[in-house]
């Protein structure tokens, strides 16, 4: 058992290092901006004194490394700075929207993970059958669709023609849970469809690649039934790659929400980020990218740790 904690600690250390470098990239990228943020906001015609005062207010007259330390310190305290467009605190802007985004991604995950695991298992079990080929062709096609295409198709059918769900998911404060769930159905379904195809294909591939190993052949030669081979011999060994795929797809969900949120005008973090990008509101973009990147890095790290922890080969010391 000895090497599992060591491996995990190593992986955690690496994850934190990556997060630190990401914060550095995001900070430096914005600081090395061609042109000056102050001039950018105040316009070319601003008086030099005004620009200087504004720079001082933003702390832009300080040397780069001090600004970075200030910024990082603020981040750790939850202070993300102020929006350049309307002067509101970024943490306040983000707060509620982050919750909405996590809610949407969470609902999508609750649908997609069980469905894709089951489909992956079934297609691996009955591979080569009509069912397998059909699912394969459908998912291969589906994977190629841009998210907004899937979203508009769903709107077309379920919202415009059938009239079952609203085409705009404008959430308001104080909406009941069931009403929120109702509003979020179409965006969540879009995300589910986009992610399931990938997750299912990877699950199938993981199980099939394990099925090629000698111990599976051994199990078959012993006369064990197909179902038992898959569930008892193949699945535990395919668990690590499958967990990996699931977590990576969850990370993808968090990012994939950006486009879907815009289509459904859903008040989430993605929508906020796109608005900020269009207005070149750099502090908000900085904060949003940091949150998205951190979630992504953390989830990937989590996937690696789980993969280490569930690897049957690492369970026993040599």
């Amino acid at each position: 058992m000895g090497n599992i904690p060591k491996l995990i600690a190593k992986r955690l250390g690496l994850g934190i290092f990556v997060l630190w470098v990401v914060s550095l990239i995001i900070f430096l990228g914005v600081s090395l901006l061609p042109g000056d943020v102050a001039t950018e906001i105040l316009g070319q015609s601003a008086l030099p004194e005004t620009v200087a005062a504004f720079r001082h207010e933003l702390g832009l007259d300080l040397p780069l490394h001090i600004r970075y330390v200030h910024w990082l310190g603020g981040l750790l305290k939850g202070d993300l700075g102020h929006s350049l467009a309307n002067g509101r605190a970024v943490s306040q802007l983000i707060g509620e929207r982050l919750g909405n985004t996590l809610f949407l991604a969470g609902v999508a995950a609750c649908f997609s993970v069980p469905v894709s695991l089951l489909l992956g298992l079934l297609t691996a079990l009955y591979r080569g059958s009509v069912f397998d080929r059909f699912t394969n062709a459908v998912t291969l096609t589906w994977i190629s669709f841009p998210e907004f295409f899937v979203a508009y198709i769903l709107i077309m059918f379920f919202s415009v023609q059938a009239g079952w769900f609203p085409s705009l998911s404008t959430m308001r404060e104080g909406d009941s849970f069931t009403h929120s769930l109702y509003l979020v159905t179409l965006p969540a379904l879009t995300l589910t469809l986009v992610v399931t195809a990938h997750m299912m294909r990877m699950t199938r591939a993981a199980i099939i690649s394990v099925l090629g190993s000698p111990f599976i052949e051994m199990a078959k030669l012993k006369g064990i039934g197909q179902r038992r081979v898959i569930v008892w011999h193949a699945l535990p060994n395919a668990l690590a790659p499958i967990i990996n795929v699931v977590v990576i797809d969850l990370a993808y969900l968090i990012v994939g929400v950006v486009v879907v949120e815009v289509v459904f005008v859903y008040p989430g973090l993605g929508q906020l980020m796109i608005d900020a990008v269009q207005r070149r509101d750099i502090t908000v973009v900085q904060a949003c990218s940091l949150i998205f990147a951190a979630t992504y890095v953390l989830l990937n790290m989590f996937a690696d740790v789980l993969a280490i922890a569930t690897n049957p080969r690492l369970m026993y010391p040599k």
Partner: protein, 303 residues
């Protein structure tokens, strides 16, 4: 990683030897394979061919100009405007045709650039090895830790949305993925005896890369090109859809969907056409790559 098993060139010790750039038999085998190719591969091939023709001859095929306002807003489908007009009264069909040139062309350009950067760096890392390899690999690992769309959004805010910045930003971000594959595939070849022989013979780095390593890892790279193209194409379309990719008045499929999306709420499918055009090309390329991989690697997941 896929090891090219069946076409390692013989040891060519004499420098005068013609290098095996492309085994003529392989190309012929591919053509023969095409004759027995499954329906999906043919489907992909036809789609890609049609898109290329439309993109190349856009100005000949399109009935109206790219930014030409020809009618009133949102005209329905008529004989004059086959697919109606858009939110500014431009002919939708013509915009769709010009979109093939702009969207596909820019995605292709970006992918090629990504392969030039990522493939080059990956091969150098594989062949040179040592600290160059380690430094590049670690840098790429960190770059890949940030989701591409988010990175692209951040960089586009910093540099502003123009075609040049769009192409270079996405090419650099995508080059990280190409680097990984090129490095992994190149590593398998770099340890081969014939590369060692070339080194001992005193060949330069460029010669070794282009004559010894590259021909041997071409099939996985070509397949990857198809897949990366799909990815870049979808990413650029999504960015344009979000309003930060290709800028108006350039006809582009992503922004066409965005600009005319309001029609969908009236049950009109026209805004879905550019999205379908995106989807169809991606499906076509995917089918083609699927078949190509199957042909060249001999890999079969049915064990």
């Amino acid at each position: 990683m896929s090891t090219p098993a069946d076409h390692s060139p013989p040891l060519n010790i004499a420098p005068a030897d013609r290098p095996h750039r492309q085994d003529p038999g392989r190309f012929r085998a591919l053509l023969a394979g095409l004759r027995q190719a499954p329906l999906s591969a043919w489907f992909g091939l036809v789609i890609v061919a049609v898109y290329v023709v439309v993109a190349l001859f856009a100005s000949v095929i399109a009935p109206y100009g790219e930014g030409q306002v020809v009618g009133s807003q949102f005209d329905p489908w008529t004989a004059q405007y086959l697919l109606g007009t858009d939110n500014l009264g431009r002919d939708t069909l013509s915009r769709l045709i010009y979109g093939a040139r702009n969207t596909v062309g820019i995605a292709f350009l970006t992918t090629s650039l990504a392969f030039l950067i990522g493939g080059g760096a990956g091969l150098v890392a594989a062949v040179v090895g040592g600290w160059v390899d380690q430094a590049l690999a670690r840098l790429i690992d960190i770059l890949m830790a940030v989701p591409q769309l988010i990175f692209a959004l951040l960089l586009l805010t910093i540099f502003g949305a123009s075609v040049t910045s769009l192409v270079s930003i996405i090419a650099v971000l995508d080059a990280t993925r190409v680097f990984r594959l090129a490095r992994a595939a190149g590593m398998n070849i770099a340890v081969m005896d014939y590369v060692e022989v070339a080194r001992l013979r005193g060949e330069g780095l460029i010669w070794i890369l282009s004559r010894e390593v590259l021909p041997n890892i071409l099939p996985p790279l070509v397949a990857e090109f198809g897949l990366r193209f799909c990815f870049v194409f979808l990413l650029i379309s999504s960015l344009s859809f979000l309003g930060i990719g290709l800028q108006p008045p350039t006809a582009d499929w992503g922004s066409m969907v965005r600009d005319n999306a309001i029609l969908i709420t009236y049950g009109d499918v026209t805004p879905l056409l550019p999205a379908a055009a995106i989807a169809l090309l991606t499906v076509g390329v995917n089918f083609l790559v699927d078949w190509f991989l199957h042909e060249t690697s001999g890999l079969d997941d049915e064990t």
